[in-house]
């Protein structure tokens, strides 16, 4: 039986912020900083193992209980859903989901059913369902900004950080959909079976994350 606590980090920007956070707690993160191609890393002198995964996989690993704790963006949580505890807003990776389209245009004009391009169909569907509005959703894998420009869609729902990409392509935010930031998630069984250790780690992370408003 694995009595270690396994933490899954979303690779990339969230990972580096999370490693800074682990540093502040006082964990030895040398392995994490010199990871090479390894995917499972340990924190010396602690019963903690860190795994690196793509955002959606962090949720999958935590949901199935093979990882106890995960660090993942709210965007992925909103798109994928799942059963786990979402205990902390870590405060980093802040951005938002927004509805955008051609500058000067108006998304809601006219009777016609609108077409929305997005990498996040579930988020988009939930957003328009809450407005009681029928829309056609087209799933796009790459740069969503292209879709309204070439006439595939009336608008896009996408992650907006600074808005520079939108601006450079003549697009504008019509409406904010939801704020996003990195979250700490915990498997529902780990929280109970390893309560002491997991609570301790959650407390340390809470005390050391940027956002003191939690």
């Amino acid at each position: 039986m694995n009595s270690k606590v396994r933490i899954a980090l979303t690779k990339g920007r969230i990972e580096s912020k999370a490693v800074e956070l682990l540093d502040r707690i006082g964990y030895d993160t040398s392995e994490l900083k010199n990871k090479g191609r390894r995917l499972i890393l340990s924190i010396p002198n602690e019963d903690i193992e860190v795994v690196l995964a793509k955002a959606a996989d962090v949720i999958t690993y935590v949901e199935h209980g093979v990882c106890d704790i995960g660090v993942v963006g709210k965007d992925t949580i909103m798109e994928h859903g799942g059963k786990f505890f979402e205990v902390l807003d870590l405060g980093f990776g802040r951005c938002k989901f927004a509805l955008a389209g051609k500058k000067g245009g108006s998304f809601y004009d006219g009777y016609g059913v609108k077409t929305v391009a997005t990498k996040y169909p579930a988020v988009t569907r939930a957003f328009f369902e809450s407005k009681g509005m029928d829309v056609d959703i087209v799933k796009i894998e790459g740069s969503v900004e292209l879709a309204p420009l070439v006439g595939l869609s009336d608008g896009i729902v996408d992650i907006v950080e600074t808005g520079t990409t939108l601006k450079e392509n003549g697009l504008d935010v019509f409406e904010d959909v939801a704020p996003i930031s990195a979250r700490l998630i915990v498997n529902t069984v780990s929280m109970k079976l390893k309560q002491e250790r997991v609570s301790e780690i959650v407390r340390l992370i809470k005390e050391n994350c940027d956002d003191k408003n939690n």
């Binding site: 949901e63 199935h64 786990f84 205990v87 498997n187 780990s190 929280m191 109970k192 079976l193 309560q195």
Partner: protein, 398 residues
Amino acid sequence: MKRYDLLTPEGTRDLLFEECAAKRAVTEGLTDLFESYGYSEVMTPGLEFFDVFNGKVRYFPQETMYKLVDGKNRLMVLRPDNTMPIARLAATRLRGEQLPLKLFYNQSIFVVNPKNSGRDDEFTQSGIEILGGKSGAADIEALSLAAKALAVCDEDYRLEIGDNGFFRELIPQLGADEELAESIREFIETKNYPALGEIMSGYDSKAAAAIGKLPELFGGAEVFAEAEKYMFTDSLRERLRELKALYDSICGICPADRIRVDLGLVHKKNYYTGILFRGYVQGYGRPVLSGGRYDKLLGDFGREAAAIGFAVNVEAAAKVLYARGVGVPAPDVLVHGEQGAETAALKHCGELISEGLTVYHSLFECPKCAAEYAKAHNIRRIDIVSADGSVKSEEVRQ
């Protein structure tokens, strides 16, 4: 057109040998337990009318049910739950039976899961239902059986109890509309402290403080003292006292460190009306047991009665057992009849079985092939039966 003749549908699978043994060990362990406490077995059909699960209150979203139509074009479902058919049974064929009724079952349910989620769409549940009876005593009985059922799967289990009555009593005092109340419930269930805190910071009341605290109130006996501070009405305090009394009774029967409390158990789409409980074991990322008190459900079917019950996810428990390794015992003896000794060989099999041994009757052409089979399958003795009825026993060197 693509043919699917070599696959099982997603979410289902064939179980082989050791997997079957693991599953059977769980169901047999649980059946023995339930029977030893005088429970009676029931079986309900795998096919039910959609209406059974689509009554006044809809506990199951229709997109999670497998549906089909019968010969009269009526909508049917593959049984998505075991408790509701038993409530139907209690209100119909068992109508004349005096309460309390103690029933148990071992049968599959079917759930449509999101694709590629790695979850079972078909899985067996073993569980009990106590219909009627003295509530307090029934709660203790159900919980102590739940603890014993978990011990069948894993000695190092946790049984967690809660009561969704705290939430149901607190939420009207907040004056939140249905939509907001649902968001709050969801944030409590997912222990989403930041989102819950943000909503509650907009209120300045004892009810809001208590609701904001609910998801943090989990752990051992210390939880009750902490919860006490937030219970500001007599009925809330009474509810907490009752839960504490129940917790103490269970701790008197089972090892206390196995029993936990979580006042943040407020799960949706269930018919539970009070005490709720869940069971966890090492090696499985979701609860293996869940149950609770449902005092309104039988009334939905026309027979008012309080009830409590729980179900064990047998597949989950079997997976845990399988991962630890379960042995399937090899037969004791391989019996091979030579040409013309087929009847004598089978007769010899019968004799060995009556002596308490297990046998494998060889259908191989030659004794050599039979010997190879025995060796490969850990059978330690071969009996060769000759046409004259004589038997020659050989040890198999492993």
